[in-house]
Subunit: 245 residues, 2 copies
């Protein structure tokens, strides 16, 4: 059953417009009488039938509304140091499947990839699309938010005051992630800050500890690539609180 | 510090030959006097200095032997239904970083990718190389084994009798993976059987339950791609027993 993000929700009906409409009409070639599922990023899912296809919109009649328990209860954000190539796409896709609430691309000191101005905006939009596709694939009803490419200060402002920050850091030899997870309040947001390929500068760790109250943690004894660390940290956290496994 | 897999171990010395020798000499261009680290897949690591470079071998004098606690204590194997494209490579690379003991490529009913005869052997060799590179990158002292491409019966024979088999299965709605992990003996091997992109046929699940005593488990409420499921299941398992996080 194909899934679509609802553009506008009505009484017993909803409309799909723009890219959602075009995807339905031109790519999937669905027609009136076909059934689909719409979701609206509030946790609801609507089983519906297509009743009208027009130039700029598709109208669907809602047959049934449900609130599937598919979203993670714990709100976990990934703060991902900008990495080269397809690594960001990969992390966004898999992070969405696994259940992250959002991802903030971070301009880390050692980030080789530079993204500024127009390019940064376009890239974040593309990454948001990837999150959208992955959300549909995994049957989520909430699309995680991909934030604008940010520096450290912007990262701090992007999330609520009560966010609990963790930095998996390979120089951290003693404090295990599990120990810190045991001490957190899972009803409050959790943010996992992952370095770029070159890792974090010690000054960045220091800044995060001082300004965010971030705790550096060890993911274990093996060295992980940046993208592996992101997905592992997210999986470990969600599994710890029962949102995975 | 560059890491190499030891070809032959001597009294206070070891030799690197073939691809290891060539990589050292032609790619890295190391020379006598340079220090390296050798490991021999038994858990030991040798800090050494290069003393002689010859046509077919490099001789290194061992300065210090250590037994770093880098390997997972729990032996977790991935049984991965053959998937298309680069997915197998990703799973092998990331599975190695995370700490798997080995991976068996499985000819599942719905595997789109077919691998037989010569091609299957060559592909498994290439995958073994990927595991080797990933082991070095993550500073492991044991390279996980990539088995020959196998069918279900061969998978059964490949692992010890006392192996505990789990199958993450999206149709499994009630039995959570955490519940099963709590019941296992972590001193015995654990095998996680992951389907190809199309998932498993019910007959395969049935066969595994009957012949392997495999338990189907749920990874949670979101649908995961095959490669995400493999890495998530591995991470959840290793983290559960304290080998990650």
């Amino acid at each position: 059953m194909h899934r679509f993000k609802i553009t506008e929700l009505g009484e017993n009906v909803f409309w799909l417009r723009e890219t959602e409409r075009d995807h339905l009409v031109r790519v999937l070639r669905l027609a009136p009488g076909d059934d689909i599922i719409g979701f609206d990023n509030t946790g609801a899912e609507y089983y519906a039938t297509i009743i009208k296809i027009e130039d700029k919109s598709v109208t669907c009649r809602i047959l049934e509304e449900s609130h599937p328990e598919v979203e993670a209860e714990t709100n976990v954000y990934l703060i991902a140091g900008l990495s080269k190539g397809e690594k960001m796409e990969w992390v966004i896709q898999k992070g969405t499947e696994l259940g992250m609430s959002g991802l903030i691309p971070l301009r880390a000191k050692r980030s080789v990839m530079q993204l500024e101005g127009r390019k940064a905006i376009e890239r974040a939009e593309r990454w948001q699309k990837i999150a959208g596709e992955a959300a549909k694939q995994s049957h989520r009803v909430q699309e995680p938010q991909v934030f604008a490419v940010s520096d450290w200060a912007e990262v701090q402002r992007a999330l609520p005051q009560e966010t609990q920050w963790l930095i998996p850091y390979e120089e951290e030899k003693t404090r295990r992630m599990r120990t810190v997870l045991a001490s957190l309040d899972s009803s409050l947001p959790i943010a996992l800050i992952i370095g770029p390929e070159g890792g974090f500068d010690y000054s960045e760790i220091s800044w995060a500890q001082e300004h965010l109250g971030a705790k550096s943690v060890s993911l274990g004894s093996r060295i992980l690539r940046a993208e592996t660390a992101a997905i592992a940290a997210l999986t470990i956290t969600l599994a710890y609180y029962g949102d995975l496994g």
